[in-house]
Symmetry: C2
Subunit: 137 residues, 2 copies
């Protein structure tokens, strides 16, 4: 069984190759832009500067069939669902970040780890203690 | 632009109608089962009881075109990206829960909010203070 995702926009970062991308979200990292397509920009109403959001995005260059991979730090083999590898059956990345500001249909955040022009899937308010940042991809 | 999701399994809960589903994740709620399909079960290797995981799942009955909705508590109109409504362009639900145990290719957790047989999309280790539970859908 399958379902179809619609790209609601794209993420603009400074990373042009996978080698340049950092391995983790960095709350103090460089500013990135969540550029929401015009067709979806009405959905941004009510978002506020300083708010913590969960951003979902799509690693379109992922290998979706690699169910057992090696841990980065130890080299030990491990199932993909016990790893945060971008290579997974559904390569949906999840990051909790703070809204730094807005520019038209664009949300400014910091320190995302993805390639420039990565497809954006969803933005939701995060219900989480504001001192905690998670990265789950 | 679009991408295709593959269902990696399904979530078994006690809820047979949308009216029965709770509005929030409850860490002390009833046991639910993340039943991973055989084809994907190798990906579970390395997951451990007590571990905090981020579960992504798919609200297949969502209205995907409703960009401005009313807040549940105030009735105020609000953009979908500022809400945790299940009705959204890409109805991907995200919940952080603790692994309570295993049964073959099944992971036991507590207190998910979804219909029985909801499609399962992904499981990842959550990097989050263990005392914090978030729900982002």
């Amino acid at each position: 069984m399958t379902a179809t995702l619609q790209y609601i926009g794209q993420i603009r970062t400074q990373y042009r190759t996978l080698q340049e991308c950092p391995r983790n979200i960095d709350p103090q990292g460089p500013v990135c832009k969540l550029v929401v397509e015009q067709d979806y920009s009405a959905g941004m109403t009510g978002l506020e500067k300083g708010q913590l959001i969960l951003v979902l995005y799509w690693f379109e260059h992922a290998d979706r069939n690699d169910l057992v991979q090696k841990r980065h730090n130890t080299g030990q083999e491990c199932g993909v669902f016990a790893l945060r590898s971008p290579h997974r059956p559904n390569p949906i990345a999840a990051a909790v970040v703070t809204i730094e500001g807005f520019e038209k249909n664009t949300i400014l955040v910091r320190g995302l780890d993805c390639l420039d022009r990565t497809p954006l899937l969803d933005i939701k308010p995060a219900l989480v203690n504001e001192s905690v940042n998670i990265r789950c991809d």
